[in-house]
């Protein structure tokens, strides 16, 4: 194998794949990434047997061949070389790298032991704009927690209804739903592992759009030259809509930054391990965000809502969950909808119906 390319191109390619080649003690070759030259360029691949990522680096192939090496090591080395041409060559089972006056040799493992990354050719197809999908998934993934006891809610739900993609995530203390417009597709409901979503966010940021192909048990994302293929989580996603209250007694519209600052200030005085802040609203009056810790002290902030209606409420939240919700809101004003101190509350952007965040209060 012999291949020539720019430092830039190689860096982008390596950046997309190395992350997934994690520690795997059972099968050491999974710690490595695959480098394979074809006429199209240098193909890079890595997998943890749950998610596989492949990408192609543009360059000049002088001799075809393949090898697997520690991807992180190559990435770190390439990062330290200045911008210039890089030459990769396999000699006696080692990868020789030359960049001007810099030389390195990385020990490799023969490529024939490396797993075959499966491919999907047919299935349900749809396309989404990257920025829209990524920002939705970023908000969603905040709410998801890996829990082996409940695999079906350890992932992200992708549900297509009437040409709209609904993304849902929950850790059973909060729940996020975001809506993304797509082209193509038909009504389906699948669950992807959290890890897959995290890889997608990393790889797809900065790209134009994401093409998705789903079959019975696999999902394939194509982002320019990079492909992410992942298994789907089997199981039925719970009927999440049943916990979304259909109406709220109190509705507050508040400047987001003001509320974020008040919550941050309150977070300094929460009780360790409980993280409780109190929100108090009396009809027609101000909203008070407060917290108290007998050992440290206490604090409260008064906020005059832009608009408010309802009977008033006093409710306690975990400030981390509350802040996660607020920071997912893209508009400058947020809508806060509340019933009583024991029922779920909703945070959503003003005059937009494509996102909401449900948060459970802390019972006193």
């Amino acid at each position: 194998m012999k291949f020539l390319c720019t430092q830039d191109n190689l860096l982008v390619g390596l950046g997309a794949v190395v992350h997934i080649a994690s520690r795997n003690t059972a099968l050491p070759i999974l710690n490595n990434i695959l480098l394979k030259t074809t006429k199209a360029g240098l193909e890079l691949a890595a997998t943890n047997l749950e998610v596989g990522i492949t990408t192609t680096v543009r360059g000049k192939t002088e001799k075809e061949g393949a090898i697997t090496i520690q991807g992180k090591l190559l990435l770190d080395w390439v990062n330290l070389t200045p911008v210039e041409k890089i030459e990769l060559e396999v000699l006696d089972g080692n990868l020789l790298i030359t960049a001007g006056k810099r030389h390195a040799t990385i020990r490799g493992i023969p490529s024939d032991e490396f797993p075959v990354i499966p491919e999907i050719s047919s299935g349900i197809k749809f396309v989404s704009r990257s920025d829209e999908l990524i920002s939705a998934l970023t908000c969603i993934s905040l709410s998801v927690k890996t829990d082996e006891g409940r695999p079906e809610i350890s992932g992200v739900l992708w549900q297509i209804k009437n040409n709209q993609l609904f993304l849902v995530g929950t850790d059973s203390y909060r729940l996020t739903e975001a809506r993304v417009t797509i082209e193509g597709g038909q009504d389906i409901q699948i669950i992807t592992p959290l890890k897959t979503v995290q890889e997608l966010i990393r790889v797809a940021s900065g790209s134009q759009d994401v093409q998705v192909l789903v079959n019975d048990n696999q999902i394939l994302f194509t982002i320019d030259d990079t492909k992410i293929i992942s298994r789907l989580v089997s199981g039925q996603y719970p009927d999440y809509q049943q916990i979304v209250p259909s109406q709220f007694i109190n509705k507050l519209i508040i400047e987001k930054d003001e509320l974020v600052q008040a919550v941050r200030a309150a977070s300094l005085f929460v009780r360790a391990g409980i993280n409780d802040i109190k929100l108090n609203y009396s009809p027609g009056g101000v909203v008070i965000i407060s917290s108290a810790n007998t050992q440290i002290g206490e604090n409260f902030t008064e906020i005059v809502p832009v608009k408010s209606e309802g009977e008033g409420v006093e409710i306690v939240f975990n400030y981390r969950y509350f802040l996660d919700g607020l920071q997912s809101i893209v508009t400058s004003r947020v809508v806060l909808e509340l019933n009583n101190s024991n029922s779920p509350a909703m945070i959503k952007p003003l005059e937009r119906a494509d996102f909401y965040y449900i948060i459970m209060p802390i019972r006193q």
């Binding site: 059972a26 099968l27 050491p28 997998t47 047997l49 749950e50 596989g52 032991e113 797993p115 075959v116 990354i117 499966p118 491919e119 409940r150 079906e152 809610i153 929950t170 059973s172 203390y173 909060r174 729940l175 019975d216 048990n217 696999q218 293929i229 298994r231 089997s234 199981g235 039925q236 719970p238 009927d239 999440y240 049943q242 916990i243 009780r271 409980i274 409780d276 007998t294 975990n318 024991n342 779920p344 449900i358 459970m360 209060p361 802390i362 019972r363 006193q364």
Partner: protein, 448 residues
């Protein structure tokens, strides 16, 4: 040969050809789903395995299949399928977002649930409660210190914290510290470590009421004992109330310095015994009310009858019943409950049966003497103590009558047995060696 056996023998052959790491990675959770018309369909857990088996091990697999089946297999296909899940009945799980419940302790570390109102009075704790109420009336003056002792889960901490709550209610300005003994010890050690011993001293010596839980853990910690001794004196001198709890009376706490023992006995020592049936029923009914749960009278009586010595266990059993109800959405019957609480209740009856013979044999082997010497007439010192301990254990563990104990140990008079039991009973309180011996013997007795 069925599919299962076929695949097992194929795996046996493949295992020899492939490295262990590869074998376990790629052949875990695979099986044959069908074998029709010379074609075998192999189920694999994911697409990676499918791709790998197709591309890499296909020839091995086919060959092994032909070997095992006697050349009846012509082709093999692979399909992704989850073996353990049952796709025909997708389980509908519901999502309920629980609210996070927080039992908060107040400023002084007191649990708000532990008040006099929620404390149920019975014969077993009348005295202790009366003493506690007297302390509330005149803190630091009537009974100082108040020493409450009793078994596990009988309400010592509850009573102590109730005093704390009540004193704050009457005099909001009072400074109270509630600390389990272990907290006192840790803080003391930290204070030494960080050189802030003065601050530690001033914190504990400036309070109006000091509540220390489980003081028996002070045993063996000489430095902490000394510090506690001085704290105690400083507070007592200024008529500040001290309340202590322990699982045994001061005298029975091993390696506790005498000057501390005498101080603990200075004020008032009150014990809390196991509650009687009526009290247990009352407690259960109150717990039900607290939890907003209705339970049949019959079930309440059954519970109160089966769990006698520990209120915490009683509450645990109740919680279990409530959880069962919520989980299965139906009201438990008495039979359900018997089953549900089987391991809690039967724990006591499954203890190995003990007999006077067993105790005698145990004592003989523990002290390395002959059974015949133990029951014999010799009154050498190395025989007398084991013999008396033997009588004591028979009395305590088997509730044997004094005449029958005498009979078992070589036809001795019942007065000898009475004397032995009194003597060992006293020795336990004064001599740690005897106490340890008896604890060890009890453990061995119930172990096998």
């Amino acid at each position: 040969m069925n599919n299962l056996e076929l695949w097992r023998s194929v795996l046996g052959e493949l295992e020899l050809l492939i490295s262990k790491a590869n074998f376990t990675t790629w052949f875990k959770n695979t099986n044959i789903v069908s074998f029709v018309d010379n074609q075998v369909v192999v189920a694999v857990p994911n697409a990676f395995t499918k791709a790998w088996l197709e591309n890499k091990y296909h020839n091995y697999i086919l060959k092994a299949l032909q070997n095992v089946s006697g050349n009846t297999v012509r082709s093999v296909v692979y399909q992704v399928e989850l073996i353990n899940s049952n796709p025909s009945t997708p389980t509908k799980t519901s999502l309920n977002l629980p609210t996070e419940a927080v039992v908060s302790t107040n400023v002084f570390g007191l649990n708000p649930r532990y008040t006099f109102d929620s404390f149920i009075v019975g014969k077993n704790n009348e005295l202790a409660r009366a003493a506690a109420l007297a302390v509330v009336q005149k803190p630091g003056q009537t009974y100082n210190p108040l020493f409450i002792y009793g078994g596990v889960g009988l309400g010592k901490t509850h009573l102590m914290q109730a005093v704390g709550h009540e004193i704050i209610k009457n005099n909001p300005g009072k400074r109270i510290i509630y600390a389990p003994c272990e907290k006192f010890t840790t803080e003391f050690i930290q204070a030494i470590g960080s050189g802030k011993i003065e601050r530690f001293k001033s914190t504990y010596r400036s309070v109006d009421v000091l509540l220390i839980d489980d003081i028996q853990f002070l045993a063996g910690k000489e430095g902490t004992q000394e510090e506690f001794f001085h704290t105690f004196n400083a507070l007592h001198q200024n008529n500040k109330q001290i309340i202590l709890t322990s699982d045994r009376p001061p005298k029975a706490i091993q390696t506790l310095e005498n000057r501390l023992i005498s101080r603990f006995e200075w004020g008032m020592i009150a014990d809390i015994a196991s509650p009687d049936l009526e009290t247990r029923i009352a407690i259960l009914e109150q717990k039900c009310q607290e939890k907003n749960y209705k339970l049949d009278r019959e079930i309440v009586t059954f519970l109160a009858n089966s769990i006698q010595n520990n209120i915490r266990e009683l509450e645990g059993a109740l919680n279990r019943i409530i959880a069962y109800h919520q989980l299965n959405n139906r009201i438990p019957t008495i039979d359900n409950i018997k089953e549900l609480l089987d391991n809690i209740i039967s724990k006591k009856s499954t203890l190995p049966a003990i007999s006077p013979k067993k105790i005698i044999n145990l004592i003989a082997s523990y002290y390395e003497i002959n059974v015949s010497d133990l029951t014999g007439i010799s009154r050498k010192k190395h025989l007398v103590i084991p013999r008396q301990i033997c009588m004591y254990l028979m009395r305590e563990e088997l509730k044997s009558s004094f005449p029958s104990i005498g009979e078992e140990l070589g036809g001795r008079d019942h007065t000898t047995a009475i004397h032995a039991c009194t003597r060992i009973g006293n020795l336990i309180n004064s001599d740690t060696k005897t106490q340890q011996d008896i604890n060890n013997l009890r453990q061995q007795l119930y172990q096998n």
